[in-house]
Amino acid sequence: MLKYTELVLDHFKNPRNMGRMEDADVTATEGSIACGDMMTVYLKIENDRIVDIKFESYGCAANIATASMMTEVVKGMTIEEAKKITWKDIVERLGGLPQIKYHCSNLAVDTLKKAIEEYEKSLARK
């Protein structure tokens, strides 16, 4: 039985920071269509700070809402702060999720982490 909190529904209905970012500094995609969920995260970074973030999500309402909340939480954070964000932080901020949705709500933080990794790799290359 899927029961979402008001806040989850709000983030589902009005996802924050949703859509593509043409001039992103880094882009990362996790998941796959076959698996049933997929997410892309776009970051704009200035002085090691996430000044802008956007996401796209293919998945259920929990998937979309966690992505939305994640972007809201990390926007404005430094890279170091963003790296410390956990899946649990996001779910708590949403007032909880049905247990059956835990696996797919991981995806938001996983994709963010992957984007940060990509960014650090690109810095190392410079």
């Binding site: 049933g36 293919y58 998937n63």
Partner: protein, 390 residues
């Protein structure tokens, strides 16, 4: 506006039906086994109800009707009952790939009890493979159970052809059909179709929840799944659900009166709905057959690039209530087996939405639904990282 398009799951009880239920709860509340007049009246009315249901499917006698708590119980009584009572004759059972979950589960249980189960595949429209069926019959086959209307995708099964195949065999094979989505929507003649057992549920046709019946042709041996005191019907003991049965009778009477017009009207509405969706929304696939092979009560679409739980939740926030075959909406996180059975992949199951009508569904409701659907689909596609052509 609230549009309920999940009528395959359950339907709203009609006021006329509720009135009957109330009468048998608060006035004619006796049970049929008392020695006094009010009890004997109830006995007669239950007998008349059995006759009514028998007639409604051209069965030969009211004794062939066994009242149950619904189609799940009827399916259990039919499959477990026939298999267990006839296991000296053979241990092989055949079902289709589009059975309702209850028949699937019961077949699993029978397998654990030592029965062999063959699942007949369906084609891309959801119609069973009759050749495969015929070839799978063995001397040990005792029972074939084919759902009347393919689960989730609305394909009308060739029941008559199935029974003809069974009649050609050298030994007697019982034929059961789960007609929960067909009874009181379509005319059913158990003689013509050669059906030996049939499951029915009242809450699928505006009758009360918790009541249904099993038709079991005279001579079919059944082992009960429940045991009890002397009672109205030995095959199904327990306090008789008289208000439920009488409400189910009323609901069936009303449905049979309007059956032909409803089928005609819904066929047109269905076509209209399918046309609007296919012409106004891109990247959609109709799951299941078109035209005569499909029940007019069901439409099922997969929407590419987006996921069904999100679609159905977004629709419900707009007042439209539907079902989805997405893995994300299932407790077991498995994609819908019906979509896989007709050859769809996980993605197609993921984006599938089932719209099921009742005989009161209106054009206005469907127009509203398409409008909201367009909005929801285009919005979710905006969010999705998967775009056509990428």
């Amino acid at each position: 506006m609230r549009v309920f398009l999940d009528n395959d799951r359950t339907t709203k009880v009609l006021p006329e039906v509720a009135e009957v239920v109330v009468k048998y709860m608060t006035e004619k509340f006796a049970r049929p086994d008392g020695l006094y007049e009010s009890a004997q009246e109830i006995y007669d009315e239950l007998e008349a109800a059995r006759e009514f249901f028998a007639k409604s499917i051209n069965a030969s006698s009211g004794e062939e009707i066994i009242f149950t708590s619904g189609a799940t119980e009827a399916n259990n009584l039919a499959l477990l009952g026939v298999a267990r009572a006839n296991k000296s004759k053979g241990n092989h059972i055949i079902i289709s790939a589009l059975e309702h979950g209850s028949v699937m589960k019961i077949a699993d249980v029978l397998q654990k009890e030592g029965f062999e189960v063959t699942v007949v595949p369906v084609d891309h429209e959801g119609i069973i493979d009759l050749d495969f069926l015929e070839k799978s019959i063995k001397p040990t086959t005792i029972l074939v159970s084919i759902i009347a209307i393919g689960h989730f995708v609305g394909s009308i099964m060739p029941l008559k052809e199935v029974s003809q195949i069974l009649k050609r065999q050298d030994h007697r094979i019982y034929f059961h059909t789960d007609a929960a989505e067909m009874y009181a929507k379509f005319p059913i003649d158990v003689q013509e179709l050669g059906i030996d057992l049939m499951s029915v549920s009242a809450h699928k046709f505006h009758g009360p929840k918790g009541v249904g019946f099993l038709y079991a042709r005279k001579g079919v041996r059944l082992q009960p799944i429940m045991f009890g005191a002397e009672s109205y019907d030995k095959r199904r003991p327990g306090g008789e659900n008289v208000p439920g049965v009488m409400g189910m009778k009323k609901a069936a009477e009303l449905a049979f009166e309007e059956m032909d017009q409803s089928l005609q009207r819904l066929r047109e509405l269905q076509e209209y709905f399918i046309n609007r969706v296919e012409s106004e929304i891109e990247y959609v696939v109709l799951n299941g057959p078109r035209g005569e092979k499909r029940t007019p009560y069901n439409v099922n679409f997969s929407f590419s690039f987006i996921e069904g739980e999100a679609i159905s939740l977004a629709l419900s926030l707009e007042g439209v209530e539907v079902a989805t075959g997405s893995a994300c909406a299932s407790e077991t996180l498995e994609p819908n087996y019906a979509i896989l059975a007709i050859g769809g992949d996980h993605e197609r199951a993921h984006g599938s939405i089932r719209f099921t009508f009742n005989r009161f569904t209106t054009k206005e409701e469907l127009d509203y639904t398409v409008d909201k659907l367009k909005k929801v689909v285009s919005w979710l596609r905006q969010i999705s990282p998967i775009k056509p052509g990428r």
